[in-house]
């Protein structure tokens, strides 16, 4: 048996990111000094997750209008799709207050001459965000949470139908962590690296989403039977080509128009795009339009910074230093000056997120943030059907989750019984299995394991399948049942009988092994959810060539799945959409 670390806590927060840190802070605020709060992260929470490289705007802020107007905008931006308006409204009511709180904690927010926050459109403010992560982490430190850095969580523990903790391994010390908790928050982010990256080798992680969030949230919740939702959406970011910098800073930050190779501002000049909203068309439509232009031979696509606001264009480099400094280096290496020439943009591979422009995550009960597994809560990218929360929405959503967890502890979240030693032993064996297999391997003369598969090999296989058969970039993000059927067969094969060959030679590789195990579970969710929704609702993000139209009679609702371990299948159910903010869902209210 390995060395074990036992932890007994009231609230366990998995993932000390944007949502997790603020959940700790709020739980302390409402739960009082005696509450035991534990935050676990695979990295150091001061520099982990989506905020690691910094970011330069808070994309959710109510600059004008009401929280209801913001919700109307969010659903418009996802083509009027069903969204959890109850959850979004609960975030909207507290958004601005949370931002004020973070400003007090030292976050530099840019101001105009009158001292007001510098707006970027209706729902966005500019920040100097290079230090977003240390400032966010300080909230968990202030809450005096017990912080376990460098611990990778591998599985949730379920006993008597309730979530009672989690297990994981120390990525530095190799110890087995057994954490018993009365309430658990899943806040380990979304999933990168499911589809093939544009580049190989040293640049294969030059991607938009943080490559260290690998769907652990989704996979672990799926595996203990939580209802999962929204995997029929995916986020496809338009970014500055070859970098991970999103194109939004060029579009709304410096008013640069998107043009094709002919210099046409196609979103404003072509009838079919104007009809769909022009340059403020919903996010997926703008991706779709770019790809249509490229397919028609009018690529590449650029953001024409030479037509932007010159003063703002001059400050672009500083802005990118706040969130994607290597973009600045890339421009310098290619002698690109955005004031002199347009900047090429391209869509990156799809990513799974729930708090950015997609809906992946767990289904939650009312506004409690509790999943369908009692005692298990979800926030940030891990919470489903409530898109466009971004940083400030994740902070807020984390706070709300923290508060509801405290309430749960005061109500039904009574003491949990001792953990079943048999179950813990089983989870331990599972956690370290790839490492154990390595020690039993035979090797070819070049050192390659005879029967073993290295995490990177399995990852590449998986990414190739998803790219070719589940709507990758090379398929212009389109899918259809015959393609999906091949994806299903190949991914199932990997999950069902290839994982027993997965080997890891050290702890670092064990992390990679768990990344691929989790990603494979995400693949299953994606394939089955996309296949279930036999319509095209998210044109651009998931375009079905076999069902190109929307089918409101069948699918204008929420779709959830539960995993059945005996058969390894997902069983689907639908919930009706509840519209709280009145009006035409495909239009903004202001």
């Amino acid at each position: 048996m390995r060395e074990r670390v036992y932890i007994d806590t009231d609230i366990l927060i998995i993932g000390g990111g944007t949502a997790g840190c603020l959940a700790a802070w709020e739980a302390r605020r409402v739960g009082g000094p005696k509450l035991r709060i534990t935050v676990v992260d695979r990295a150091n929470i001061r520099h982990s997750g989506s905020l690691a490289a910094g970011q330069n705007a808070l994309n959710a802020y109510i600059n004008q209008g009401t929280p209801e107007d913001w919700v109307a905008y969010v659903r418009y931006d996802l083509l009027g799709a069903p969204v959890r308006e109850d959850i979004l409204l609960s975030v909207g009511y507290e958004l601005n207050e949370t931002v004020a709180l973070m400003e007090k904690e030292g976050l530099p927010i840019k101001k105009d001459a009158q001292g007001r926050y510098l707006r970027r459109g209706k729902w966005n403010i500019e920040v100097n965000g290079r230090w977003l992560k240390p400032i966010t982490a300080k909230m968990a430190e202030k809450a005096e949470a017990q912080i376990l850095n460098w611990v990778y969580i591998t599985e949730l523990i379920k006993q008597d139908g309730r979530c009672v903790g989690a297990v994981g391994f120390g990525v530095r010390d190799g110890r087995f962590y057994v954490i018993k908790a009365r309430a658990v928050l899943m806040a380990a982010g979304g999933a990168a690296g499911i589809w093939r990256s544009r580049y190989e080798g040293d640049a294969h992680h030059r991607m938009w989403y943080v490559p260290f969030n690998n769907g652990a949230s989704y996979a672990m919740m799926k595996r203990i039977g939580a209802e999962m939702t929204g995997f029929d959406t995916r986020m496809i970011p338009l970014r500055i080509k070859d970098t991970y910098a999103p194109a939004g800073t060029l579009a709304i930050g410096v008013n640069a128009p998107m043009v094709n190779a002919l210099g046409e501002v196609f979103m404003l000049e072509k009838e079919e795009y104007v009809r769909m909203g022009g340059h403020t068309a919903p996010t997926p439509v703008r991706v779709w339009a770019c790809y249509r232009e490229i397919a028609a031979g009018r690529g590449p696509i650029f953001m024409d910074t030479t037509r932007g606001d010159p003063e703002k264009v001059a400050g672009l480099r500083e802005q990118y230093l706040d969130m994607s400094p290597t973009t600045v280096l890339y421009w310098a290496a290619h002698d690109i000056d955005p004031a002199r020439e347009p900047i090429e943009i391209e869509a990156d591979s799809p990513f799974l997120v729930g708090a950015h422009a997609a809906c992946c995550g767990a289904w939650t009960i009312g506004i409690t943030r509790m999943t369908t597994i009692p005692g298990l809560f979800a926030s940030g990218e891990a919470l489903g059907q409530a898109p466009s929360r971004y940083i400030s929405g994740c902070w807020t959503c984390g706070r709300i989750a923290g508060r509801h967890m405290v309430q749960w502890l005061e109500g039904e979240g009574t003491e949990v019984p001792e953990l079943d030693p048999g179950l813990v032993a089983q989870l331990e064996a599972r956690t370290f299995a790839p490492l154990e297999r390595w020690s039993k391997q035979e090797f070819f003369t070049n050192g390659k394991p005879v029967r073993g598969i290295l995490p990177r090999e399995m990852e590449t296989h998986m990414q190739n399948v998803m790219e070719d058969y589940c709507g990758g970039r090379i398929r212009y993000f389109t899918v259809s049942e015959p393609y999906l059927e091949i994806a299903r067969r190949r991914i199932d094969r990997l999950r069902r009988d290839q994982l027993r060959y997965l080997v890891a030679r050290d702890l670092f590789e064990l992390e990679r092994a768990w990344d691929v195990i989790n990603r494979l579970d995400c693949c299953q969710l994606v394939i089955e959810h996309i296949s279930y929704r036999k319509e095209t609702r998210y044109l651009g993000f998931v375009t079905r060539t076999d069902y190109p139209e929307r089918n409101d009679a069948e699918y204008d609702c929420f779709i959830c799945s539960v995993w059945h371990p005996e058969t390894d299948t997902l069983v689907f159910k639908k919930y009706p959409y509840e519209q709280i903010v009145p009006g035409d869902r495909t239009k903004e209210t202001i």
Binding site: R42, A43, N44, R46, H47, S48, G49, A52, A53, E103, G106, L107, P108, I109, N128, R130, W131, I135, W150, V171, R172, Y199, E200, G201, D202, A203, H204, H205, R206, M207, V210, P211, F212, D242, Y244, R317, E318, L321, D322, P325, T326, V328, L329, Y330, W331, A332, A333, H334, D335, F508, E511
Partner: protein, 113 residues
């Protein structure tokens, strides 16, 4: 390869338990080579190019380069960490030098050594 460590500049953070680059990488990519006692990025392909390691190295021993498959050298971006700002020196492929700055913490309080 995004982050390179210059052997003459890295002092392994003087055998401290948690050298800066090892402590800050969100992907757990930095380690101290047991043989040389100097830092190294163990799998550059896994790197997200966030430059956090480069910013924090107290000896400016880490150099970030754009992968050669994406951009030719030379161009350099050298951060220097102050109390409330980072000052960046950018040298482009034509040898032109720029000084750029970004704020990291609110408030005035002074600055730079």
């Amino acid at each position: 390869m995004p982050p390179y460590v210059l052997p003459d500049k890295c002092d392994g953070c003087k055998n401290e338990a948690d050298p800066w680059c090892v402590a800050v990488c969100p992907g757990n990519l930095f380690m101290i080579d047991p043989v040389t006692s100097k830092a190294l990025c163990r799998d550059p392909g896994e790197c997200w190019d966030c430059m956090t390691c480069t910013i924090f190295c107290p000896r400016q021993a880490i150099v970030t380069q754009v992968q050669y498959q994406l951009a030719p050298i030379p161009a350099e971006l050298i951060p220097r960490l102050g109390k409330r700002h980072i000052t960046w020196t950018l040298i482009d492929c034509k040898g032109r030098i720029y000084r750029l700055e970004n704020m990291i913490l609110a408030g005035e309080g002074e600055e730079e050594d």
